[in-house]
Point group: C2
Chain length 263, copies 2
Amino acid sequence: MPMRLQTESGPFRRLRLDKRAPTPAYAQIADAVGGLLRSGALPPGYPLPPERVLCDQFGVSRMTLRQAMGILEREGLILSHRGKGTFVAHDRLKKQQQELRGFTEEILARGGKPESRLLSFRQVAPPAAAREFFAMAQGENLYEIRRIRLSGGVPLTLETVQLCERLCPRLEQFDLEKNSLYRILERSYGLRLGSCVEEISAELPAAEHRRHLDLPRGVAILTIHRNTYTDSGLPLELTKSAYRGDLYSAIVHSVRRQRTGGK
Amino acid sequence: MPMRLQTESGPFRRLRLDKRAPTPAYAQIADAVGGLLRSGALPPGYPLPPERVLCDQFGVSRMTLRQAMGILEREGLILSHRGKGTFVAHDRLKKQQQELRGFTEEILARGGKPESRLLSFRQVAPPAAAREFFAMAQGENLYEIRRIRLSGGVPLTLETVQLCERLCPRLEQFDLEKNSLYRILERSYGLRLGSCVEEISAELPAAEHRRHLDLPRGVAILTIHRNTYTDSGLPLELTKSAYRGDLYSAIVHSVRRQRTGGK
DNA sequence: CTAGATCATTGGTCTAGACATTTGGCGCCC
DNA sequence: GGGCGCCAAATGTCTAGACCAATGATCTAG
């Protein structure tokens, strides 16, 4: 007897697709299947229905379905093997792209309760480093924001942000103790954050750190310099953060460079 | 007069494709175009020929060409806009995936001259943390390698690596002062590195650090705990590194999570 | 009982089209 | 001169197939 054709899609049976929606079919499929996988309802190694079966179910052609599967595979949610099938990947395989987050988002993601205390908000003449980074013309101004950032009421970092006034004029109208700066930039100025480069280093505490961070003895400072760009590559923000070394550490996900691979 | 159809592919004119080669057409195209872009010969914003022109030139269908373009777009080498065209992206836009590297590779990439001094190479009973990470059975052993790692003759970090003997038996036959551990794992054991998670923190120097790292006064320690996995998600290596804070900092690239997007 | 051939099933690649949507230049009309 | 609409060109999405290559179950010959 030939190998039985798999027709029972099991947990995938109920997934559907709205052909009238403006979102493309492949995105809907990737969202639907991806959501099911991320829910953790299926154990690693659990087989997905064959592509041709899913095509029937969603009512799309195979190329469209494979566009969705490609997204899921790049995210590390599934693993495909020619001749065998496609399977739910192990959790550890999830390709965690290093994610750009502001302090507020980062602390929320870690289960903390972010707060801010504004130390100063000034317009300053740009130092050379900032002038070069932002490609500033003569006479352009820089916003400089200094804040203590807390989690659960404990001072965690002393942060200095520099922003080019050209990109976010009248920034002073916002309350930077109550609002996430990144949210303001995205929502109110339509600046879509794109990427950043951080340099993470270790230092001994200086007087300034002791003054603001309530440092116990025997604690070092984790310093992060961040250069942020918009999604179109425009220099957006320059940040220096001094974290309490005993309360904060940076988590970094890396992947091995591989062959350019399929999908 | 209608808008002139672009037929001059300019710098792209000479790119060709070997239909008999075993590598898929889309990979060849991505390599060829990607190589031209990475060479820096074209300025940011320079327009690529329309997809249909490239299809003709390479002799492939549009879906195949778009598979190649999708790779380049995900790498951040090009930017596409519906209705306008496809353009060379700005350098800053290149999606630098955080890359997993061993010390040797990292120092070479930074233009240094990596060396190692072996402090100890032992088989030890696994501590609880390692037993859990490697999912070790009773009686299994752990390799523990302690090395001073230098760049240009200067001690840079004190590194302790733990490896599960099951995955790389008879590791003691290799000279770990002369060979990159990652190279050994890949070449001699066929273990393909996949990804890692690092926790980066700051500490004050301990006696051990002073003893081995030749520390000047006023220097903190940058500590990196690394959990490494193979490309199939198998736990491979557990490393703790203590870097001289004045000589080393970690560079991290991050990108903003976006809509699942096309291609 | 085993080694090898067969073959259906699977994902990987590719084609030759189609229609949709966005953009921007051009010409027309006021 | 200044809008406004048309339309060609461009990318985005999708189809309904095709063939290839790897896998592994089954069948068959020894």
